[in-house]
Point group: C3
Chain length 271, copies 3
């Protein structure tokens, strides 16, 4: 009886801990998802993966939102999957199935996702950055795919990584397990801007404010097509691009946008 009560309490505590591993806040039209389990180095535990998927879906479904920011508490953005969890065979399928689901959820999310890194992004933590639509970081950040050190090659982190950084840098990171710093991340395309740690918040506000001024329906059309065309051969992409431009012109917000241009006033989006 006592045992059962204790088990219940433990479960409750554990589920609270899971809940708390990710915190969210809505600020104007941007949704900030914070990895907030610094004592585990923000590992992407099963709970964290589930919460990330859930929160990205919530934000994607909220028509008042126009962007998502993924950031973290503490000096480690994310150390990747939870290795203690991964050591238990029963968890393995769940972890990697959730990781795939997270990647697909990010691609399918109708609004852009911005990774905001101030610290260490390792393994699937680095994958999260590479898979985001945009990424900025502080100059004290670093990025690595060190799975090979423990015998678990960062094959899935390598998927978005090899699509954003140069093949040589991706291979260097994957085979040596060592880090690249912020400057190298910028040079090789993993982030599009590096700032001082104290400027990171301002930079994110600038970015989300800029995106916040656009029409949500237009952003969604744009993101959806961006991922569609990038895997096509270039001539098919142009052919489909022609169609998407015409569909875009049918959107109310595009009609309003062009009208506002002719009338020299600010557009008034219906989103």
């Amino acid at each position: 009886m006592l045992k059962s009560i204790l088990r219940g309490l433990y479960r409750h505590k554990s589920s609270l801990a899971s809940e708390n591993c990710i915190t969210t806040i809505k600020s104007v039209n941007s949704y900030r998802i914070t990895l907030s389990d610094p004592k585990t180095r923000n590992t992407l535990s099963i709970a964290a993966l589930q919460r990330l998927i859930e929160e990205i879906k919530i934000a994607g479904d909220d028509l008042s939102l126009k962007s998502i920011v993924i950031c973290a508490n503490g000096p480690v953005f994310s150390a990747g999957h939870n290795l203690k969890e991964l050591s238990i065979p029963e968890n393995q399928k769940t972890v990697f199935s959730l990781a795939t689901k997270l990647m697909n959820t990010m691609i399918e999310c109708p609004i852009p996702i911005i990774a905001c890194v101030d610290g260490v992004a390792a393994a699937s933590g680095c994958q999260l950055v590479a898979a985001s639509d945009m990424a900025i970081c502080s100059n004290r950040s670093s990025f690595s795919t060190p799975g090979v050190n423990l015998g678990l090659f960062c094959s899935t982190p390598g998927i978005p990584l090899s699509r954003v950084v140069s093949k040589k840098t991706a291979a260097y990171m994957l085979f040596t397990g060592t880090s690249i710093n912020a400057e190298e991340a910028l040079r090789t395309g993993l982030v599009s801007k590096v700032v001082q740690p104290e400027e990171l918040d301002n930079e994110i506000t600038t970015l989300t404010t800029l995106i916040g001024q656009k029409s949500r329906s237009v952003i969604t059309l744009g993101k959806t097509f961006f991922y569609k065309q990038i895997d096509e051969n270039i001539k098919s992409a142009y052919k489909n691009g022609e169609k998407i431009m015409l569909s875009n012109l049918e959107l109310n917000d595009c009609k309003e946008g062009l009208l506002s241009f002719v009338e020299k006033r600010k557009p008034n989006w219906s989103n």
Copy 2:
């Protein structure tokens, strides 16, 4: 009667204006196409698109030419499609059909196309740069895909852009609508060289002179295969590359080239 005469005059003037939106000059074996409608910020109007397609075809068919340079008069390289035209529904299909045709014409053009930018390249103006085989710019140039600001996402500019710059930078440009400067364009691969504005002409002359020394038939074989292989998986590309090297060796100009090497003299191309 007078009305009809006036209409005739107007048409004539308008068609002259269309003709004049693009000027061309042949210099040795390079064809320079200049966007020369600075009062419209060199918009890629229907007339301009038609002229660009036409002129690229003319240059492609002229066996004495070995390269095309696309440059512009005024501080704006090109502001993209003509939004007044685009506001008229009847024009929309025409505009984007011509834009696709322009992209395909550039890919299929048998000689390389060099974008030479000294100023603002926006929307389909930026697309024109991204779609060129080579691009250089002055240090006061900037590049943007601001369609999202008016509700018309730069989906087609995103096609060549995401194939030359890093995915993160492409997304940043497409979702925020803000510019990158010349230095960022160089870092991220949109241009391969940045020079002072006053050095731009010399740089283009150097480039076209270098290309002008090659065999035209060899250049054409090379460009055609370059676009073919880039969309293939790497092993198919190597297999087809083997065949193309053997075809290349069958060209008279390759036989002459190898002979000139053995005989330690300049090659004498039949082109």
Copy 3:
């Protein structure tokens, strides 16, 4: 009779020369392949291509090895194919068939290949660098694809080149035949690090030591999947990545790696 003896001697000498065009040395768990025919500017002659393929296979089959380094003696890393050989029609098919075989052998090699460049890498010499998994170079190195100068467009070098450097830089190199320097090679992704010539050996030792600490079976799994996924569309890649992570977890060295992590000790690979 004398003629026949002399021919025999000549053949023997020539075959020795062929053997010597490539030297190899095994150092701990890395295999160093040195292009050592500086008097021919380390041309990738038929003999050299055959030896490279052979040596990469030998190293790939040696389970005690974890990396291959390709370097060169003399100021030219490699000047590319042997043009005297290529001038003889009978050789042409052989040369390009071997070149394709070399590329496939590099991709299929179960351990990573690192190009270590201190000098000029031209034509298929540049291709060798671009096709390596990793590449570092000294600051006095340069890279070019000058085949177009002799009427033989560097179509096959363009295949790996256009997959590692930006399209604009690849086109610039291929159409002009001119070199990029070490700094440009770094910026555009052809190498992942540039060092002083005297630091090159240390840098390679650091790199091969790092890779030497990993499990060979894990490295092989990682490299194989890296090349598989890079040609897939991103969603298929993630789906297959999920499977490969689960296969990786089944490897003995992964079980050992995760156990060593939990037990806070160094892993003891069975390789």
